[in-house]
Structure formats: C-alpha cells, structure tokens
Amino acid sequence: MLVSFGVYLKTPSKKKEPILIVSDLAVQFRIGRYRKIEAVSGVSLDIGVGETLGLVGESGCGKSTVARSIVGLQRPTTGKIIFSGQDLSQCTIQQMKEIRPQIQMIFQDSVASLNPGRKIGKTIEEPLRVLGLADRQGRERLAHEMMRAVGLDPEQMYSRYPFEFSGGQCQRASLARALILNPRLLICDEPVSSLDVSVQAQILNLLEKMKRQFELTMLFISHDLAVVKNISDRVAVMYLGKICEIAASEELYCTPRHPYSALLLASIPEPNPGQRNPTKGTVNSELPSPANPPPGCRFHTRCPNTRDLCIEVEPELKGVPNQGQVACHFPL
C-alpha cells in the first residue's frame, strides 16, 4: 500500500511516518436546487506521528470542512482520508468503531459544544459510556483524573452545569471529553478564537502540555497566524478551498513563498508601535465567492503580482527546494 503514498514521502522531510493522509479531498455543498459550491477542492496533506500541523486561512476558506471530513462529520465528495493505513471511506462500521475513538475534536464555541442540561462530569465521561468502556465507578474515576489533568477541580466542578463555567473552563472541559478516550489524533477547530488573550494563553499552554502527556498528534485550525505559529511544527495555508502553501512554521513565517501567506503575515497587527506598516500591495481585500471561484489561480484577484499565466492556468502544489510546497507560478 505504501507505493501509492510515494508521492507524499518524496518531499524532503525529517518527519516520521504520517498518521493521517488526506489526498485530493473535495467537499461540495448544494446551494439551492442547481448550484453547487465546492468548499474544499483537492486538498492533500499529511500529518506525521506526534506532529502539530497548523491550518490557517480566512473565514470561508474551507478549513473547518477539512476538519469535519476527517472526523467523519462531513462526507467527502471525492478524495481519500487515510488514518494509520486505513482508508476511512472503505471501512466497515465495525472498523469505524475502532478508529473513531482515536480521532477526537474540540470546537470553537466550547459553551455550545457542551450539553447545557448535563453536568460537566457526566459530559466528560459520556464517550466512555457510549463505547461501553467502563462501569459507572470506573467512568467517574477516569473523569476525575481527566478533569485534574486539564486543570478543573473535580471535587467542585464535577456536578456543575456548563452555564456556571467561564469560556476558558468550558474549553478545558471539552478538551477533557476529547482526551478521555486516549485519542491519537486531536483536531482543534479554532479552540481559542472566542477567548480573551490571557485565557487563550492558558489554553494554548494546556494543549501543549496535553500533547506531550498523551503523545498526541494535532491538527490545529485557526485564523490567527501568531497563535498557529506558536503551536505548530508545520503550517498549511488555505485559500478558497485549496492549499496554497505548506511549510515548516519557522520557514513560513520568515520566508513566505506564496503571496497570500505574505499578505496574511503583513496584516497581523503586532503589538509594537514602532512598526506601523500599512498593508500595501492589495487593492482588493474582498474574498471572492467560493460558489464562483476565479479562473486560474484563485488568488489572482487579490495578488499584487498577477500575470497573464495566473489568470489562465491554475498552479499546482509543488515542492520548493529546501522548503515545503507552494502553489504559485511565481513564488516570492
């Protein structure tokens, strides 16, 4: 089976064997009766064991759809998702039952992702109950352990309801729920976007700690590049359903090759009043509609160095010497 993976292994890498391979994933949604929108079109990526892959992009670029497809909340239109050697679309229900607990996810709106009518402790131990993995005492003991690990006091918090919790505490609880099954892959879909800076820092540190403690592999989705850089080993940048650049996080931030990555980096407001850099280059800050993506390179409507070729031919994701991959005819 590894032969078909050859393409991915060819990229110069120091990374280990991939735990997850997404190849040519496309997801279409119907809008209205006849129109279709391709939220994700031809995304390929892989995550090595123990690696954190960051996925960044503006809202509506399809990053959450990629995440939802991986955990099975969204059926891909075409493409393969291979988790530790098994193609998820070919798996029987029995096999899926074994794979599902290994892939867990936490969501952006942690308050909404917890059942408001159920005690936090019960919510945390629910995955065990669903899978029938432990008896009542065992579940409660594990939930207590897990709550302690994520920094919630089980004595006080176990029988409370989500409305009594702050946003940061809710995110801790949903992390506990995700980790109680001892997953191998954790998908974090904008886990800190709705939190304040000080709480955000706590959750990011907690994620790093949990990653070490539970030997996790992570896919970390965010629109905030600074956050992604701080947590990821490699970063993939998405634009309108396509990946335009994948590179090691330090490299991407020092020398972005795709103009879109460069634009994103230049837009970040850095807390340093000395460097007041008005964003230059792009006249048009508007994202084109994914229902009607521009021909050729999808970024050409906003790109500062568009040429004729960009409008006609869509660039492919290609390896760059000494660096990751970039989908651009004229990389920086």
Binding site: E58, S59, S166, D196, V197, S198, Q200, A201, Q202, L204, N205, E208, H223, D224, L225, A226, V227, K229, N230, I231, S232, D233, S249, E250, Y253, L263, L264, L265, A266, S267, I268, P269, E270, P271, N272, P273, G274, Q275, R276, N277, P278, T279, T282, N284, S285, E286, L287
Partner: protein, 332 residues
C-alpha cells in the same frame, strides 16, 4: 499628528460612573473614569471582555441599557456641553451628527430589511435636512469613499448580500455620513478576518486624518492599538489601570496587569512551542468587588497594602503616563 495640548479637548470625561442593574444587584461597570480627547487624536481603550470598555463607550453616548444609573457627579462634556444632563431631543441631534459610533457586529447594527443606501440616506435626511434625492447621491459618494466597489449597485443591496468586510464599511459610511467630530469605534474589526481588519483600520486612519476627527478605538487586541492610536488606556474591572502615550506605554509598561496582558500574546517572533506567560486566576466578581486593588488576587507583586487599599490613577512622569498601582514595575 501632534496637536498641542492647549487646544480645547473635544471630549472631557470626569469621574464617569455607570451602575448597571443585574439579577444579583447593581454592577459598577464603569468606575470613576476620566478622559480627555483632543480633535484629530485617537484614544485606544484596551481590556478583556467584561472589563467595562463597551459600557464606557455607551455611557459617553448615553446608550446604556434601561434602568442603568449614571450618578450626577459624572461629567461628560462634548465641546463644552454636558451630554448627561442634556435633553433627549437635543441629544438626538448630536448623536449621529457630531458623535458617531461603529459597533462590533455589522450584521446586527444594520437593518436587515432596508437597502444599505437607504440606511445611509436616512441619517443624512434626518440630520442635514436635505432632499431624499440628494441624500441618496451623498450615500453613494460615501460608499465610494469607504472603498466599496460599484457603489451605485451596492447602495441598492440589502446587508445580507454583502460580506462581513463590506458590511462594516457600510456601518462606517453611516457613521461618517454627517462628518462627525468624534467617532467611537467599539471593536470595529473583531468579527473580521485579519486582512479585512487591516484594510478597515487603514481606512479609518485615512478618513480620520482627512476629516480631523477624534476617535476612540475600543478593542481587546493590544496589536490593534499599537499601530493606530496616539494614546492608550488599559481597563481592568471597570477602572483605567494604566494610561499613556501609546509609544511610551509599549516602551515601558508599569502596571503589572498591562505587562501580563502583553506577555500572554502569542508573538510572531516566538519560536514554535514557546510557553506563553499566563495570568493566574480570574477577574473579580463585579457584584462583589474586593476592597483593595482589583488585580491584587492575580498579581505576582501583591503586598498586604494592595489587598487593603485601592490605588488611584496617578501621574508618574512628565509625559502623562498614569498608573493605578502601589508597586509598579521598574521603569526601563
């Protein structure tokens, strides 16, 4: 953009307090706040959610929730007139014309069943007493001014047909319709993507320079204030805890809270997997405030004095750097 300090401030706020009714009693959401703002200057107000920054803006505008109390000692003077004691009818003539506000979520601040051009024209008709036709013409000009392409067609669209960035531009066009002297922007870019955020902030800065407006920019993002404001005030639990010229503030943060907030931000310059500094604990319960410094329970420099006595906002140097702290950090 230096304006000498002997010109009259356009806005003068003295000892402003606002008590909001909650189920558990009155909350002192804005506590003894004093500010001065000169024409053409920008004041940034930073703080985490729940620190009272939006309520401060609303208290200035007189837009507090029903049954809130603003004690009579509070002074809000706009061009020498007190806004607090002003009759409703007169206030209506000032708000929208001389003082305008932009809100965080443009979807909820715009009327969903009214064409955007009409929404702008409405303001112009009301305040400037011009004919509908002229008002519409002016509305199209304004849409063009805020950088909306094809302004003529866009004016005939409804908010749901526009993207988030365009909607916020419409909200800015409404705010600028009567060329206000003071613009209060309450988290104008929080709901937007970074690239759009940069474009909107650039637009606000350009318009401000052109029209010599004074602006209050409220945000939770220290990065946003760093590049765009002349002066910055940091709020914590309803009070201003540090206020200084923006460059001075970022050069030396003297109040431990400001410093901690800054250190919690994930920076682009950090190496991947850098541990972020966090602030322990939670902000105090606003219904039941501690007697001393409100940050004392989370502060690493807290002494018995901090827990017993509340520090007042005091000037610490000739540059107008003010802090409310008993044991400030060393100056650099």
């Amino acid at each position: 953009m230096m304006i000498c300090s002997d010109t009259q401030p356009i806005l003068e706020v003295n000892d402003l307090r606002a008590l909001l009714p909650t189920r558990r009693g009155m909350v002192n959401a804005v506590d003894n706040i004093s500010l001065r703002l000169h024409p053409g200057r920008t004041l940034g107000i930073v703080g985490e959610s729940g620190c009272g920054k939006s309520m401060l803006a609303r208290a200035i505008m007189g837009l507090l929730p029903a049954r809130s109390i603003v004690p009579s000692e509070s002074i809000v003077n706009f061009k020498g007139h007190s806004l607090i004691s002003m009759k409703k009818a007169r206030l209506r003539k000032i708000i929208g014309r001389e003082i305008a506000m932009i809100f965080q979520d443009p979807m909820t601040s715009l009327n969903p069943v009214m064409k955007v051009g009409q929404q702008i024209a409405e303001v112009i008709c009301f305040h400037l007493k011009v004919s509908r036709k002229n008002a519409h013409k002016r509305a199209v000009e304004l849409l063009d001014l805020v950088g909306i392409p094809m302004a003529e067609q866009r004016a005939n669209q409804y908010p749901h047909q526009l993207s988030g960035g365009l909607r916020q531009r419409v909200a800015i066009a409404i705010a600028l319709a009567c060329e206000p002297k003071l613009l209060i922007a309450d988290e104008p870019t929080t709901a937007l993507d970074v690239t759009v955020q940069a474009a909107i902030l650039d637009l606000l800065a350009a318009l401000q320079e052109e029209k010599q407006m004074a602006m209050i920019l409220i945000t939770h993002d220290l990065g946003v204030v760093a590049g765009r404001t002349d002066e910055t005030a940091v709020m914590y639990a309803g009070k201003i805890v540090e206020q200084a010229d923006t460059k001075e503030l970022f050069h030396q943060m003297r109040m431990p809270y400001t410093h901690a907030l800054m250190m919690a931000i994930p920076r682009l310059a950090n190496r991947p997997h850098t541990k972020l500094q966090t602030i322990n604990g939670q902000p105090p319960d606003m219904v039941d405030l501690p007697p001393g410094c409100r940050f004392a329970s989370r502060c690493w420099k807290a002494q018995p004095l901090c827990i017993e006595n509340e520090p007042s906002l005091k000037r610490i140097n000739g540059q107008g750097h003010k802090i409310a702290c008993w044991y400030p950090l060393e100056s650099i």
